[in-house]
Symmetry: D2
Subunit: 379 residues, 4 copies
């Protein structure tokens, strides 16, 4: 993720007309030697094993937080207090209390012109940004259904090894917080609507996994007889949701959907039309317009690479698609422009905190026999 | 549906080698004149406005019940008591009590060689029958996820007119019982597993609809200012489900999924593979085999029209697809063969009653704030 | 094909309101015993081993010719002379001379109200009939490109056995006449335009194939060491074509396109729009409208099962697809209606003869180093 | 294209472990001021309006030629003579004579360890590189069919403005040389086989187009009454081709395929399997294995983002796709590795010259009534 952000900061000014040019000034990590190597590989000028160095430096304007979720609050609060603009990876925090403190700090800092934003990067997919525009224009009408599935399969094999992401004390949450959070943000953003209550279930299918003597990366396999460790987070989560508009949401997130490497799918049905998207075909949006003549109606597959599509004018000729990384390039672009006052930084920490509250409601419902649980602050 | 069944009975012996040849002896309806017209159009020898006539006739061996759900029990009980073989459309009954009485009657009759079967016709889709075979052979391994959506859109328009299907006193249930029932049966049949508990929500988006002075069919529109009538059934239902194997199900059924005329979709993910199906491409099954070499893995799209595929040998050359109607042709074939003892009639009334119990659990959960509700008899 | 036609004649009046009801009066074959068995299986009243019996009978109005191509002319001429309406399977004849004699006879008979039609059944695919309507309405504008591929694979295996279809003396032609003819007719019909010249190549990849001691059907394999017989027809044909409008056509037909059981594909690009179709998804048409707003343009996938689509109103609810057989049902419907003067029989023998002339030009070009060869009668 | 190459050189060492790190030393253009602006925007250290400056500099090792085709030979010959490694954009030259001189120069230079390569970038698509590997391993068996279409639509509108690409004196060729050349190279590379003869047709549908007072980019429109200029290149080309293996090729390239922004499609059918690819879904390859069990055969859709897939290990986690630009990143990687002797630079100038000879044969055939024309040097 660090490599990805560095690439985005480096690429953004080469393709977009930015009011200021980002400089990769200082990479902060936990291990001095490894951080120095990474800084060199990723193109940073300097490195440190103490993130506070970045906050102390007057020549640094932006803090980009890509650390695990349990450290977000501390770093963000320090950075905002120092008047730094903050881009923070999602999820905003590992719990609602931390998220709320961050929102408060961001609001205070905003009065002094400090910009903050949370990195729900899928919002920067051109096809999804087009979907947002169509929905905003009323092209799907009143939304009735939101159907979101985030399907991965890297844990399908019951012998896939243990990683820190499966340890609740470090990761905070499992599939739900990691990828389910994306679906929640996307759904609320696309519809412009809030989830007010949920009924949820979570599941851990494989309760222990083998340890690797050395970390050999995803896809590796432990040797037979390896020590096993308990999985303390969810493998999958599913929930139904009510939106304030009355729409009905159905959400599912899993890392055991065999065959789905990264299918981030969302469908929205309204009384005038529908949209359908799968990140597997990230450059395309399916749009159905129920006001078309009856015998010509059909989902039209739009390649979102036209000059008139969000972000697309900066890139290749129509039909030459973009890859995953440019969600981050676009995020850097939007953040720099927000700093210069050209647009508003979105999602704000407040929006990201709303995602956090939905996640909390999902966990509460799952712990209470799936009973319908209101989302705090949305009722 | 009557026309469809008649066509199936007429077509079955022309393409399959049946031990006995069906004869369309008597069509029973409620209005004598209209039933006579239908009998002529559909190719029945005679007609009546009293279904009891069919049961009284010694030369009639089979009663095929296509009436609304509230009459199923009475007709089926009478037919079984008279020693007739009974094919009953789904859902088996409008409530569990009726369904149970039908199961008991079917069991009694079975001792005398009387065959009974419920018409969950989607089981007769060659591609789904192939999916069943693959799952039975262990090709998807241990099932973790079942994801079923039955999406229609004929009620998307809030001014689409009222019909009897929206009146609970006649239809018994709404979208849930009409199409959600198909998903439940398909899921339990494909996995060979039982749903043991559900957490559900139902929704009626459009609470009243205009009356038509005359019934003008789906897709018609009432004149402005038409009298409106309350919709007393669900427009949509969604629920999460636990299977006895530990698999997690997510189900959704709706008649307001704009753009989806009849998308009956199901995906199943196991630890060795996955299947994916949408009735929109009814001749094709997507199958993913996680035991393929790593760099050749992918969903393979199988055209289920080969000689070795279920039902397919009787039909056209490979690649020349079948249409919806032959689910019913195959059902007739299987039923005739079951009567002659060549195979077992499936789904039995008992299996259909299990679907009924899941529907009842869904309704109970929806009425109790989505709390997790066990399915009666499955725990 | 006989079974298919019989099913179509039987099915047509059950779903369409026909002015007259077809009766399967007499099946004519070559072997008396086998024809009698088929007549019984397919639902004919009587059978004969002499097709002249059908022409002699006053109570028979229609002759439906499903014999091999080398007998079409003789039967059709006799039938037309006797005042019978004639539906003749494609290709109309095995050579242009025969086709021309049939056209002349059809023209003479037409003066006396006798109807004749050639069985290019793909015209009766609802999605293609919708494409024809859109093109006729100018929705794709001036046509520039026609791209047609008819891909099958039943000869991919070099050990697939010899059949009569690979013997030029019996089949007349190979892949070109069998399936390439369909693409030619479809292209000329959809565009309303004539192919005026072609440049072609044909290829026989597997020049001999093993004989089976008994015919064991497609997909069977001969025993090792079986006697081999020379293949005297083309396995594949490809040609570029000029249309009278100036459009450029690219055609390909093959029986060795591994993985394609029956992919009958056609794409048409005009200056206002495009259509795309593959028989593999026979109920769907992709339509692109270049007059849509720039950022909403995309191929829209139309399910051609709406009340307003060709043939569709007679069938199931929207979204419940049709199968291959109903091309023939629709053909029967159109033919009966043409006999009663309700519509014009299309394709006429004259239209079918134009396909024959294109096939002849393809063969001439292939025999002359692919040089550009005009289609007789179109220049 | 210059911006693209610069981005590729900058990105390659950030994701791949390269033996040497590229430096963007000097950008050479034709206009000093504009080149200076571009150099700054694209990240070059310096700029010049005389490409000879680059060849004179001792500290420059690599010349990357992105100029119009008519200047390739002169620059490449000078660079090779000076011992520079040369990466030259496709097509290698505007005619066979120039191409041959370049091949001779490259061969001479190679003796001194100088590396040259032509930029057929599509070879660097991971999914196509996977296809190459599968074919090389014999997984599709003996190739019978190659079906390649390169479809664009930026000239569909007859009022789309004139550009230099439509002027034969500058562009050398039209659609054929621009995008048809890609299909030819891809087909020869994937099959490992040579095109030996072709039969071709070219077409210019819109023979004059309006001039813009100022260049307003693709997609713009001239004002009414604008002066028109003659189009002197082909809008479209189609040809059949023989491969030395006996395979039959069908090629089509056009800029008027309405709805196709950039559909670069290729299908290959062999006697053991097939592959199918469309650049529209650039991260996916469809592969059909005819040795799969009969009832499980189907095209499997492989997401070519696994660790074991060509180039993929350097990038994002599986399922997070790449964009168009990384064809060029991979090209830079391969070129640097070839310079260091880690792999062979492909396509060599000699391979690129073979593409040139096929293009020349296509043009000859098109000028001679499509007669079958041998490709020089391949017979």
């Amino acid at each position: 993720m660090g490599r990805m952000h560095a690439h985005a900061w480096r690429t953004a000014p080469r393709f977009f007309d930015l009011p200021r040019t980002p400089v990769l000034a200082l990479l902060a990590g936990t291990d001095a030697a490894r951080t120095a190597v990474a800084a060199d590989a990723w193109g940073f000028e300097e490195s440190t094993d103490d993130w506070r160095r970045a906050i102390e430096r007057d020549d640094i304007d932006v803090i980009d937080i890509c650390t695990p979720g349990d450290t977000h609050a501390e770093i963000a609060l320090a950075a905002l207090a120092a008047g730094k603009h903050v881009l923070c990876e999602k999820p905003l925090a590992n719990d609602v209390a931390d998220a709320d403190r961050m929102v408060a700090a961001a609001d205070r800092a905003a009065a002094a012109g400090v910009v903050s934003m949370c990195g729900f990067s899928y919002r920067r997919t051109p096809a999804l940004a087009l979907a947002r525009r169509l929905i905003e224009q009323g092209r799907v009408g009143e939304v009735r259904h939101v159907r979101a599935q985030y399907l991965q399969d890297w844990l399908s094999d019951p012998e896939a090894p243990f990683t820190w992401r499966l340890d609740k004390s470090r990761a905070g949450s499992g599939t739900l917080g990691d990828i389910g959070a994306h679906s929640i943000d996307t759904a609320q953003w696309l519809t412009g609507d809030a989830i007010t209550a949920v009924s949820a279930v979570t599941r851990t299918f494989v309760t222990s996994r083998p340890m690797l003597s050395e970390q050999i990366g995803l896809g590796g396999r432990a040797h037979e007889g390896a020590e096993r460790r308990s999985v303390t987070v969810d493998d999958a989560a599913a929930f139904t949701a009510s939106f304030s508009s009355g729409a009905l949401g159905v959400f599912e997130a899993t890392r055991l959907a065999t065959g789905h490497r990264n299918s981030n799918r969302i469908e929205i049905n309204g009384d005038r039309g529908s949209i359908s998207f799968d990140f597997r075909a990230m450059n395309e949006l399916d749009f159905y317009d129920a006001t078309d003549p009856a015998d010509e109606q059909g989902f039209r597959r739009i390649q979102a690479n036209e000059v008139g599509h969000p972000y697309a004018a900066a890139w290749w000729p129509p039909g030459h698609g973009l890859g995953y990384e440019h969600l981050f390039t676009h995020q850097s672009v939007d953040f720099v422009r927000a700093i210069e006052g050209e647009e508003t930084a979105r999602p704000s920490f407040a929006e990201a905190a709303r995602v956090q509250r939905v996640l909390a409601a999902v966990e509460r419902s799952a712990a209470q026999q799936s009973v319908y649980v209101p989302v705090e602050g949305e009722n």
